[in-house]
């Protein structure tokens, strides 16, 4: 069975990220002949002696002209048993926004570090973003090993420094790999030039990562996308009275015959059918898209949630969240926003900005506003309730967007830190952002 792994890459400018991504594509034979010819032609035009694999991945014309990548781009490559969706995140300081975007969907983050430079401020920021967004696996590719003679001590020092920062941030498992993106060492194939290293290549490591199971393992939640009622359909009288609630399971498992609760109504009922266009199922799990039929005819609409009876979320109009501010116009207290949480969008006000995280000092800081690329903590008052989980427990039902109601612009990426309904039940790893009181 071929599975999907979503990953992101990040690194400072010139650490070799484009070269590494080009190398991954090239060595997994994901580059087709005509694309390769184009790259060879441009390399020659630029007077380069070798083929610049970095050219495979920089997309838009403006970026080609400036020679830098400035927006998240998505790449696709595959090995024998896995397909990878790679969010390629540009690495300027001012583009923390991109790393946040790429990390939001990633099961794994590959972070580039130049072996000669070691851990930089930017490395710490990227690790902080990975911790904040709860990327399950972090891999540090210590690049340009060819320029340091494949020196074991240099690698060990960098690896150690990275691990120290990672554990300070509460990132469980950060693995380091010595690579040369330029020469292809330990990217797809293992190298013999670093005999002291007996670990896997980057691709081998990515192939072996357990698929993210936390979504399916958490309690059942299905945010309703729409109600399916083909009643007018003269097409098939069998469906005249059909009424189903369509959505993608955000977490957990649901079985036919099981009790569920409909929120925010708070009414319990039974799942009588789990439908797909391919037939009925006995059970379904995240992230399947299904349509549920329920025993009772409640008034259920888009934005409602069908959840497991035990540990169902408590609807709330007060959210305490970490936000990554993504817009040029800064946040301010009293600002009116739209909160988009699962399939529900509700008007809200920023009631308080508790502080921002100084990513360089890794410390909280008092502030009145949040500027582009700031990460901070806010409290929000909502016009109607949402069914939120703590982001630490569920990325799908713990995340939200802040949207400008007037322009429609996306202002911030938000992660639910808590609300009055669950104060202390989450165990918070010491040192992790989430524990920081500001």
């Amino acid at each position: 069975m071929s599975t999907l792994l979503r990953m992101a890459t990040a690194g400072s400018v010139d650490d070799g990220k484009s070269t590494l991504v080009g190398r991954l594509l090239h060595d997994t034979k994901s580059v087709l002949a005509d694309q390769m010819q184009a790259v060879e032609r441009v390399s020659k035009e630029k007077g380069l002696g070798v083929v610049d694999l970095a050219l495979l991945t920089d997309g838009l014309r403006a970026e080609r002209e400036q020679g830098i990548t400035i927006d998240v781009a998505y790449r696709y490559f595959a090995s024998a048993n896995r397909t990878f969706i790679l969010a390629d995140c540009p690495g300027h300081v001012q583009y923390t926004r991109n790393t946040v975007t790429g990390a939001s969907t990633a099961d794994a983050l590959v972070l580039l570090v130049d072996a000669r430079k070691g851990v930089l401020e930017q490395t710490r920021r990227h690790l902080a973003v990975a911790a904040l967004l709860r990327v399950p696996h972090v891999i540090v590719a210590v690049n340009k090993m060819d320029l340091v003679g494949y020196d074991a001590d240099i690698f060990a020092r960098v690896a150690q420094a990275v691990t120290a920062v990672a554990s300070e941030l509460g990132l469980g498992h950060a693995v380091a790999i010595p690579v040369s993106a330029l020469e292809g060492d330990n990217v797809v194939t293992r190298t013999s030039r670093a005999p002291w290293y007996d670990g896997p290549s980057l691709l081998e490591l990515l192939e072996g990562l357990p698929a993210a199971q936390d979504a399916a393992a958490y309690a059942f939640r299905l945010p309703v996308q729409l109600t399916i009622r083909p009643q007018d359909a003269s097409r098939d009288p069998a469906f005249r009275d059909y009424r189903g609630y369509a959505g993608q399971i955000a977490s957990g498992v649901v079985r036919r015959g099981e009790q569920v609760v409909v929120l925010p109504l708070g009414l319990a009922t039974t799942v009588v059918g789990i439908d797909t266009a391919d037939g009925e199922l006995d059970e379904a799990f995240a992230p399947m898209s299904v349509t549920l039929r329920l025993a009772d005819e409640f008034d259920i609409a888009r934005g409602d949630m069908i959840a497991a009876v035990e540990s169902a979320p408590v609807p709330t109009q007060d959210l305490d969240g970490m936000v990554a501010w993504l817009h040029e116009r800064p946040a301010r207290v009293g600002q009116r926003v739209l909160v988009k949480h699962t399939t529900r969008s509700v008007p809200a006000t920023i009631r308080d900005i508790a502080g921002r995280l100084d990513l360089d000092k890794m410390a909280p800081q008092a502030t009145e506003t949040l500027a582009l690329n700031d990460i901070g903590r806010v409290s929000l008052r909502l016009a109607s309730p949402v069914m939120a989980d703590n982001y630490l427990a569920s990325r799908r039902t713990g995340s939200f967007l802040l949207i400008d109601p007037q322009s429609g612009a996306t202002l911030a990426a938000g992660m639910v830190r808590g609300h009055q309904a669950f104060s202390d039940e989450m165990t918070i790893i010491p040192g992790q952002f989430w524990a920081w009181e500001i």
């Binding site: 790449r75 959505g247 266009a277 898209s289 990426a413």
Partner: protein, 300 residues
């Protein structure tokens, strides 16, 4: 009990259905672009699944260059009838006939599709356009969002895209603006064919090996027909070919192939060394940035 895990196609399918349902629920007047090409066929298949057992709650639209393969038009009409869809046709030929557009010197009509498309969107006040574009197709598409804003002139601003996080899609737009929605963003050409195979989706016969009278131009095999014919030293030959993309007859090239079934094609795609667009679309080869330029202007 440990929960199950979806395989690759299961996950891509579920994601696409989620996207289609989101856009359909959040936007007032969606339309799905349907050309009879395999990506649009797969997208339609997913959309039908998304609303099952209900009918498709929006119409489909074909931007007809007037140079389409007759068998593709027949296929289109058959699918529309089978699923009782509402079909709108935006016709490039009408624009040429009444002078709103003029034929290009190279005879290529693909770039002429933009105007009729945008006019049709305005006329029907569509605010969401489902397209079958995939990010693996081309460099400029790699940065395209799943839900992508277009201004009142249909233009895409690649420098100023909204960040797209988790599976939360922001489809808000001002009056006159619209969004393009790409449910197949994360699919590759191979995924599309694997899905066609798994689901038993039927496609126009053009995709499978057949004999056809063709001639070579710019390294591509073009069909001999009413809209393209050999010039000068170009000579017609009868070869066994198939198409990897279907579009305008005058600029869509065939490839020599013996792949007569989906299973054959899967093997061919898995081992092929030329990209879909590189092999078969003359207009994309015009310049390095051809696609980017057309996308900015509102092309799909």
């Amino acid at each position: 009990m440990s929960p199950g895990q979806l395989d690759l196609l299961g996950e891509l399918e579920s994601e696409a259905i989620h996207i289609i349902r989101e856009a359909s629920a959040e936007l007032e007047r969606p339309v799905l672009l349907f050309s009879g090409g395999k990506d649009s066929v797969v997208m339609l298949h997913l959309a039908l699944k998304a609303f099952w057992p209900g009918p498709l709650p929006f119409p489909v639209m074909h931007v007809d260059t007037g140079h389409n393969f007759p068998e593709v038009l027949a296929y289109r009409d058959e699918v529309v009838a089978r699923h009782r869809l509402r079909l709108l046709v935006a016709s490039v030929q009408d624009y040429l006939d009444d002078g709103r557009l003029v034929e290009r010197s190279d005879g290529t009509r693909n770039p002429l599709q933009t105007q009729p498309l945008l006019d049709a969107l305005a006329e029907h006040r569509f605010d969401a356009v489902f397209g079958g574009g995939r990010r693996d197709e081309e460099k400029a598409r790699a940065k395209e969002r799943v839900v992508s804003l277009r201004d009142e002139f249909g233009q895409w601003d690649p420098r100023n895209q909204r960040p797209e996080l988790w599976n939360l899609y922001n489809a808000r737009h001002r009056p006159g603006e619209h969004v393009r929605v790409f449910p197949l963003s994360n699919w590759t050409e191979l995924d599309v064919w694997r899905y066609v195979d798994r689901e038993g989706i039927d496609l126009p016969g053009l995709y499978f090996a057949h004999t056809r009278e063709v001639f070579e131009r710019d390294g591509m095999w073009l069909a001999v027909g009413p809209y393209s014919a050999p010039r000068g030293a170009e000579a017609a030959e009868t070869l066994t070919v198939r198409y990897r993309t279907v579009g305008d007859m005058s600029c869509t090239g065939a490839v020599q192939s013996e792949a007569a079934t989906v299973a054959d094609i899967l093997i061919e795609v898995a081992t092929t060394r030329i990209s879909e667009r590189g092999a078969t679309r003359a207009d994309d080869r015009l310049t390095e940035a051809a696609m980017e330029d057309r996308k900015k202007e509102g092309y799909f």
